[in-house]
Amino acid sequence: MFLKKIALVGAVSALMASTAYAGCGLTSGSVRILSNDFPALHAVAAGAEACAGGGVEVSKNQTTEHKDLQVAALTSNPAQYTTAVVANSSIVPLLNGDLIRPLDDLVAKHGQGLQKTQLVTIDGKVMAIAFMANAQHLWVRDDILAKAGVSAPTTYEEVLAASKAIRDAGIMEYPFAMNTKSGWNLGEEFVNMYMGTGADMFVPGTAEVAINNDHGVATLNMLKSLMEYSNPDFLTFDSNATQALWEGGELAIANMWGSRGGAVLDDEGSTEEVTSNTRLIGAPTWGNGSTPASTLWWDGFTISKNISDEDAEATFVAMLNGISTEMVKANNDKAVWLIDGYMPGRAAEGISATASAGAPPYPMMPFMGALHTALGNELSDFLQGKESAEQALADVEAAYNAAAKEQGYLK
């Protein structure tokens, strides 16, 4: 029996290797993947690993620490990884360090199946292939909104009104939440809200920050008004915390990542009452603006500069196999894919509504990270009521200037 099992496993893996070989058409090369660690990326890496065999080696390192590994790992020559899977913020250090290669030749040779929108171009050169999208947008509980007699909000003013109605009806004391944990999450909420004003975050063409103005004050005041309806623990809320609150049925309206949709709407961790009444809708506008107060994010792969052309080509082909239409069909609900063959489900509705309403992409500027960190560290005093909005913005500007000077963006 044991031997039979071994033989069977051997036969299956031989079969898989041979089909993969036929599928990828590679004869040699080394593919080494560095990426973040969540189910959608596991599916992509598994697709790339199917190309292993026949002289092609595929290895992977999927870790939430990828951002801190990537620069050092790609600086060495040859680079430790042939591809780094990035998002629009984490590609910036790779671009700044000149660590990834243009992909135009590989796209021309192998990329016939790619959509034009998947090509991320910087200064006319393709630098990454995007394959999935994400954004923060509103989540609503239809049953609770109906009980309070309000309709699903489309602006943050309506979010405030609906939250008040729910509180006044005695249904929930704190019906609203967003990811406001001090640090990266809080910075992201400010960026999202500020985008709703339509104003620029930097003086165009320079690294000078431009948020210390009326738009910034209005943004902070809106965040503070929303926090009136959020649990007092809000400065500790990250995605895991808000997802748990949502699945526990303790929220009626929330601003959360679309990528959490699959995990909430599945039949684990929550009740039928919550999941069947949960609806993911577009990010709201506010202050009579027309831009949704959110930023669009993509995940995509890049190819390291410090590797041989042979490895680069093998990596490109293997990663294309990882983001193939077949992979999407098998993993349709794990992400909002940008790939041909994707059938948007319930979990994707929020992101596609946000994107089609014209939300801007997260700013891919070299100095955006410094501003994001400054926002995340300096805004909690204001939200706790310890300082004025003007003081908080002045602090952000000062912290940003110090960091940007150290990074060489400001003199």
């Binding site: 929108t117 623990d233 994107a355 500027m365 960190t373 995340g376 110090a402 960091a403 150290e406 990074q407």
Partner: protein, 343 residues
């Protein structure tokens, strides 16, 4: 021992110390004097899944030559030490000039990230250290008086807080103090306040972190004191008993003086340990209300997409300086005691 023999005797540990302690510190110091090169910015058109946009990027060609000629970066001297993220001389001067009283001046100083971190770090160090010593001594005296049969299990249980990894321990407690957690819900009932949350207000967050610190470190001082108690000379204790000393008097006049050197030792270790408080801040998600020097180093290195090595290095050097200042009184005391002893 001859000097020559002594040198050979100490050489292995000396070289290990130079290699693993002195050289890294020198390297961090050198790093703290440099910042990144000036970046040449250009405006380009970037496209992605959500359309095209004019954006500012770094001109790689122009900055490459600079980077290759000086890979360490641009020499900045001590400017990183004095910028807003650290000692903030300019901001302090400005605050002193513009504020009309000590309290407004202090509130402006505590608005600066470095001083805010120093404030919490010092408060944590000076609150937690004495409590750890007192609690550790009390537990050691209690355990020492137990019958032999239950001593072993009691010691094991008392050591548990120290065995748990700090990050895990603080995460577990973080969940327990949640409004829906065991401790959080109990406190709400005890204080009859349904809105009571240990995570919401800065004061309660500080107290939570102090309590965690004492809980985590007390077993260390307990086990040191317990070991010390085993060596207390029994004839002195018995002599005191014959003289009619109560249990409290025996502890006060025999046991505690005997264990004074251990108190110095624990104070030394705890001052160093508590001054680099870090894990509970991460575990309790407390960075909105409490940051420490170690936390701002972490934030420089891990907060964003790009690391601020110069800034982190400067904070590290200032932390070393802080530890040195803090330990000096204790070390001077130890040195005097050492010299007083007949050789």
């Amino acid at each position: 021992m001859k000097h020559r023999t002594f040198l050979w005797f100490i050489l292995p540990s000396l070289s290990a110390m130079v290699l693993f302690i002195a050289l890294p510190i020198v390297s961090v110091f050198v790093q703290s004097l440099f910042v990144a090169h000036d970046q040449v910015l250009i405006v380009t058109e970037n496209c992605g899944p959500f359309g095209c946009k004019q954006a500012t990027t770094v001109d790689q060609e122009a900055t490459r030559a600079l980077k290759e000629s000086a890979p360490l970066g641009k020499y900045n001297g001590f400017a990183t030490y004095t910028n807003r993220g650290h000692l903030a001389f300019a901001e302090i001067t400005e605050a002193w000039r513009s504020s009309d009283g000590v309290s407004t001046f202090l509130s402006q100083v505590l608005n600066l990230p470095f001083y805010r971190a120093v404030a919490f770090t010092l408060a944590y160090t000076f609150v937690v250290t004495p409590f750890v010593i007192l609690l550790g001594l009390a537990v050691a005296l209690g355990v020492n008086a137990l019958p032999r049969a239950i001593k072993g299990p009691t010691i094991f249980v008392s050591l548990l807080p120290m065995i748990v990894t700090p990050l895990i321990g603080s995460l577990i407690l973080f969940w327990m103090i949640d409004a829906r957690g065991l401790i959080g819900a109990t406190l709400q009932i005890v204080f009859d306040d349904p809105d009571l949350s240990l995570k919401a207000s800065p004061t309660l967050t500080w107290i939570t972190l102090f309590v965690y610190g004492v809980w985590h470190s007390a077993p260390f001082s307990f086990i040191v004191f317990y070991a010390g108690l085993q060596t207390v000379p029994q004839d002195t204790v018995e002599a005191a008993m014959i003289d009619g000393a109560s249990r409290w008097q025996r502890i006060r006049y025999v046991v505690v003086p005997y264990m004074a050197p251990l108190v110095t030792f624990i104070t030394l270790m705890q001052l160093m340990d508590n001054f680099r408080v870090f894990e509970p801040i991460v575990g309790f998600s407390a960075q909105a209300s409490a940051t420490s020097l170690s936390y701002i180093i972490y934030s420089d290195l891990r907060g964003g997409d790009t690391q601020l090595f110069g800034s982190a290095a400067a904070t590290s050097m200032l932390t070393i300086l802080g530890v040195a200042v803090l330990l000096t009184p204790v070390l001077i005391r130890t040195w005097r005691e050492f010299n007083r002893k007949p050789v």
